[in-house]
């Protein structure tokens, strides 16, 4: 029940509490009332049922992948 779609922020309207995100080349307006942090274009959000539920830490994603490369090369 928790289909989440990652999307890259391309426009932010804090006053009206929405952002436009792009996922797989498609743009969609989503609510950002649940997001505490500041948002700027280029940020990534996880979207569920029309609302962003969290900001994606791309640095973490990178670290994660690097970790795998290490493990895989360890053999």
């Amino acid at each position: 029940m928790c289909l989440g779609i990652p999307g890259k922020v391309v426009e932010v309207n804090q006053a009206e509490s929405w952002a436009v995100v792009e996922s797989f080349g498609v743009r969609k307006k989503v609510g950002i009332a649940l997001i505490d942090e500041d948002l700027v274009p280029g940020d990534y959000l996880m979207v569920h049922a029309g609302y962003a539920i969290g900001k994606i830490d791309m640095e973490d994603a990178r670290v994660s992948l690097e970790l795998w490369e290490e493990i895989l090369h360890a053999q």
């Binding site: 609510g31 009332a33 505490d36 795998w68």
Partner: protein, 377 residues
């Protein structure tokens, strides 16, 4: 970067690390390890990637109470169907998944065909927009889902209030995941070697909310994302714990999940909802595991605005949903599976939602006429 997480080449390489590790764990346990995912979207992702077949023999993946449709009590389903049937003047707003869920005698799809008005919404925000655009209609939104979804529904009530809409209300069947996992893990018959925790529920609740899995029940747990690499990573991290004899609640989804979760979402949930005792299919009453609207929002509470009484009805005869959701059996062990119970004519709710344990199993892992033997090829 996110694309890399679904790169099949990377996936295959990880798999080549995962399988030997799973074999090692199986050797230690004397049987393949059994992991349970408790998120329907994990169920789907595993099924669609074919992961279960790739790990067959060395690791077993089972589906727990992760599909909100499947765990919704028969009585609750009957209630919304009864409301739709009795009040053709209402617009029942719902996520697509609830449309075909069978109640005791009918479904929303059946009632729509008989004249009930049922609208499918992708977001509760759309339901509010619809209510605003149709002032002569009365919209009842069916709030189903866990911590991931409940904040969005709370926000829809907030939006209706701020736009002063009198024709929008929510029928809340929301439930909370940690509460039911406590019950699940307390079952002495349960034989689960590790839990794959729901990444998006944890995005809201935070990793710490699930610490009890390892601290109280000594079961390894990993918060997982939804890409194939994420899932393999979760399995890897669980296997590592088994092999090293540890039990921790590890965050395998740090790019999104924080220790404390999403505080704003948690606050909003708290502001609009209060915990109540509710029935879960297969689990019975689980104290304080449901989310009802706070009294001060009763104007927006469909349970108050449009109370329905339905006679208590036994769960569908022979449906083994409870045991499936507890991981005690797999779907094909249910005597009704694929015989009386199919996605077309589901008997139990696990067969309804595409992410339901039985439906995913039916759709992706099993076939009426085919043998199950060689599908890994």
């Amino acid at each position: 970067m996110l694309n890399k997480l679904r790169d099949p080449e990377l996936g295959k390489r990880i798999l080549s690390k995962l399988v030997p590790l799973a074999r090692e764990a199986a050797r230690l346990l004397g049987r393949p390890a059994i992991f349970m995912e408790v998120c329907g979207t994990h169920t789907m992702a595993i099924a669609r990637s074919g992961l279960r077949s790739l790990l067959a023999g060395s690791l077993e993946l089972r589906s727990g109470p992760g599909c909100p449709v499947c765990v919704t009590d028969q009585g609750d389903i009957d209630k919304v169907i009864a409301l739709a049937a009795a009040r053709h003047d209402l617009v029942i707003g719902t996520f697509g998944d609830m449309l075909r869920v069978p109640g005791t005698n009918s479904s929303l799809e059946q009632e729509r065909a008989r004249g009930a008005r049922v609208e499918i919404f992708y977001s509760p925000a759309e339901a509010v927009t619809f209510a605003a655009g149709h002032p002569r209609d009365e919209v009842v939104f069916l709030g189903v889902g866990f911590e991931t979804t409940a904040p969005a529904v709370a926000l829809s009530v907030a939006a209706a209030r701020s736009r002063d809409l009198k024709n929008y209300s929510v029928l809340s069947f929301h439930k909370t995941v940690p509460t039911v996992l406590e019950i699940l893990l307390s079952d002495p018959e349960l034989k689960i070697d590790g839990l794959i925790l729901p990444g998006h529920v944890c995005t809201v609740t935070g990793r710490k909310a699930f610490d009890f899995v390892s601290t109280k029940f000594n079961v390894p747990a990993v918060v997982a994302g939804f890409e194939p690499v994420d899932l393999m990573e979760a399995a890897y991290l669980l296997l590592k714990q088994i092999v090293s004899g540890r039990a921790e609640t590890v965050n395998g989804y740090p790019r999104l999940v924080r220790e404390e979760g999403n505080n704003k979402a948690k606050e909003i949930m708290k502001e609009y909802f209060k915990p109540v005792d509710v029935q879960w299919r297969g689990f019975g009453m689980v104290p304080q595991s449901g989310l009802a609207l706070q009294e001060r929002f009763s104007l927006y509470d469909a349970a108050v605005k449009f109370p329905v009484e339905v006679s208590e009805s036994p769960p569908p005869r022979g449906c083994a949903c409870g045991d499936v959701l507890k991981g005690k059996i797999v779907s094909s062990d249910c005597p009704l599976f694929a015989r009386k119970c199919t996605p077309l004519q589901p008997v139990g709710p696990c067969m309804v939602s595409t992410e339901g344990a039985c439906a995913a199993y039916y759709q992706y892992e099993w076939s009426k006429t085919g043998s199950r033997g060689n599908i890994g090829g």
